[in-house]
């Protein structure tokens, strides 16, 4: 009984306190009531729809193989006439920045794992502005490249992934991972029977992509940057009549080609 009454007394006190706070603020102040907004008014008691938010930036990466949309495990013919299919195609993106004449807007500490079967990626909000382009690196910048994957939140692209995007024996990320089957016969007879792996990493393999496009990032808007990845471009210059698998260290020439093909593989939509 005693316990019960003490509970009651606390309840009464809270009610009383609440009453005073409410009345002391005055009634019906209009304003923006969303604490995540730029103009949040803590005194507002009635939302008047005036909330302002920074523009949200979205990157759309449309995966193609030549002229077709990419489907995993489907045979495609390269311009050389050679057949190939992909079972996995993904790369890291870091150092993303919206450019303008000045310092632009950098998405610091934002990393994407761009996958052949996913198109839409949220970069987060940016300062409003008239931007003239979008630039980023394919791969992971050297500071993060040598960091410990187990220190990242599970939601981060840099945390351990399945399939793995990290070389544990050299403590670095796999920047680009493309796997599938290819026809390696000298004549290109159409037998897609060679399982290949293109695993490209190491600091020196980081490649910049700079795209020019007017991006009008105004308050309360969502800005979409549309891009195309033509995965067939990654095979440019690789002699596919030899076993061309690379894990970078064991086949540097092929790894280098794959990295250098980044610029022709990624274009504006």
């Amino acid at each position: 009984m005693k316990y019960f009454s003490s509970k009651l007394s606390i309840f009464a006190l809270i009610l009383l306190a609440g009453f005073f706070t409410l009345t002391s603020q005055g009634c019906g102040k209009k304003g923006c009531m969303d604490p995540d907004s730029l103009n949040y008014d803590p005194d507002a008691t009635k939302d008047d729809g005036s909330c302002e938010f920074n523009p949200e930036i979205m990157a759309h990466f449309h995966s193609h193989f030549g002229a077709d949309a990419l489907t995993y495990n489907q045979n495609y013919t390269l311009s050389s006439g050679r057949k190939v299919n992909l079972s996995l195609a993904q790369f890291y993106v870091s150092g993303m920045k919206l450019t303008d004449g000045g310092s632009g807007y950098s998405f610091d500490d934002t990393y994407l794992l761009v996958k052949g079967d996913q198109t839409v990626y949220e970069l987060g909000s940016a300062d409003p502005g008239q931007y003239t382009g979008f630039t980023f690196d394919v791969g992971v910048d050297s500071a993060a490249n040598h960091s410990d994957p187990s220190t990242y939140e599970t939601s981060s692209a840099l945390s351990p992934q399945s399939p793995s995007m990290h070389w544990s024996w050299s403590s670095g990320y796999i920047f680009i991972k493309i796997e599938g089957m290819a026809d390696t016969s000298a004549a290109g007879n159409g037998a897609v029977d060679y399982p290949f792996e293109l695993h490209v990493g190491m600091d020196a393999m980081l490649r910049n992509v700079s795209l020019s496009q007017a991006l009008d990032a105004t308050l309360n808007n969502e800005v979409e940057i549309g891009m195309v990845i033509d995965w067939s471009q990654f095979f440019n210059g690789i002699d596919m009549t030899t076993p061309f698998t690379t894990h970078t260290m064991d086949n540097m020439p092929v790894a280098m080609k794959v990295a250098d093909n980044v610029s022709s593989a990624i274009t504006l939509e």
């Binding site: 005693k2 994957p149 187990s150 220190t151 351990p160």
Partner: protein, 347 residues
């Protein structure tokens, strides 16, 4: 209506919040989660470097030990860390190269796990900078445990005991990669060996710890002519760094070059500690030397003359007695306490 109970409650709440906010370092250490692991370093050892994000706590060490001996960490639940790192063999496996899941053979000899906290690099080529990061390697390696780390995290979260143990050892809700790597590394740091007869002779003033032959072997080992201590010197009988000890004229395993791509480092391997070396056969990165006689003869021969071979590998001539003395001395580096310490054994 009596106000007294309310006041009492308020006082209590105030008291608790005061205690919480005045929580100093010593108070933290007294909380079970942060209770430090009682570790006593052997005489002659420098302080143990421990990373800020992984204090040596009793709970982390205990959890790390459980993980170390658990085959659940491999894809088909057949291989644990201890499959290749057995305590009675100084945490090596006695094989030329190790066998992992599905009978897969690796390409290197499993190194001893001893006094790892003082190492600056891990793996024979030094590709891994911290003990925490090292954990990712055997788990993922197809010829070792062969399981994706993310899948391992999911697997341990479904286990009836692990989630609770992780919550008790870390200020986190569930099993995650951070906890697995920190716990295993914490256990590995307590694998300290510093009580072999040579330690007793050198650091504990026990002159009778080494017999006459072992003492003569020690003088040979420490001599300029043999030069062993250029690389295997100091409190841990090793120095940090990589050397080419002239094992081959041409190396199949490029060693340090594998991670640096620098051709001048071809055939350079991490200098191993010689602690417990009598029980860690076979020897070298590829397990190619089967016993310590072969090791002595290799160094006596002056090496195969690889361009990167160290200037300290020059060759020497020993009498039959001297050869035996050096062999006996290497056997005096065996620390029985370490090989039998129940704190390191499976429970």
């Amino acid at each position: 209506m009596p106000a007294a109970p309310f006041i009492r409650q308020a006082m209590l709440a105030l008291g608790i919040s005061l205690i919480l906010s005045s929580c100093r370092q010593d108070d933290l250490l007294r909380m079970p989660m942060y209770e430090p692991y009682p570790l006593e370093l052997p005489p002659g050892f420098p302080d143990m470097p421990v990373p800020d994000d992984n204090p040596l706590t009793t709970r982390r060490v205990a959890l790390g030990k459980k993980l170390f001996y658990d085959p659940l960490l491999s894809i088909d639940s057949t291989v644990s860390c201890a499959t290749c790192h057995l305590q009675n063999l100084g945490f090596t496996d006695g094989n030329r190269v190790s066998e992992g899941v599905h009978g897969g053979l690796g390409f290197r000899n499993a190194p001893a796990l001893v006094n790892l906290a003082w190492n600056e690099d891990y793996m024979r080529d030094g590709g891994v900078p911290t003990l925490e990061l090292q954990v990712l390697a055997p788990v993922a390696a197809e010829v070792e445990m062969g399981i994706n780390f993310k899948e391992l995290v999911d697997r341990l979260n479904l286990d009836p005991t692990y989630p609770q143990l992780f919550r008790e050892a870390f200020d986190r809700d569930e099993v995650d990669a951070f906890g697995i790597t920190r716990a295993l590394a914490a256990f590995e740091r307590i694998l300290v060996s510093g009580n072999n007869p040579y330690d007793q002779y050198r650091f504990q003033g026990k002159t009778e710890a080494l017999n006459a032959s072992e003492q003569r072997g020690m003088l040979l080992f420490e001599s300029n002519e043999l030069g062993c201590t250029h690389c295997h010197g100091g409190f841990d009988l090793r120095k940090n760094g990589f050397e080419n000890n002239g094992l081959y004229a041409q190396y199949v395993d490029s060693g340090r070059t594998r991670v640096t791509l620098n051709p001048d480092e071809r055939g350079k391997f991490k200098v191993p500690s010689l602690r417990n070396v009598a029980v860690t056969a076979p020897y070298m990165h590829d397990g190619s030397l089967t016993d310590l006689w072969q090791v002595i003869d290799h160094y006596a021969s002056g090496g195969k003359g690889h361009p990167n071979q160290s200037e300290f590998i020059t060759g020497f001539t020993l009498t039959t007695t001297e050869r035996t003395d050096l062999y006996n001395f290497l056997h005096a580096l065996t620390d029985q306490d370490f090989l039998q310490n129940p704190a390191f054994s499976e429970e």
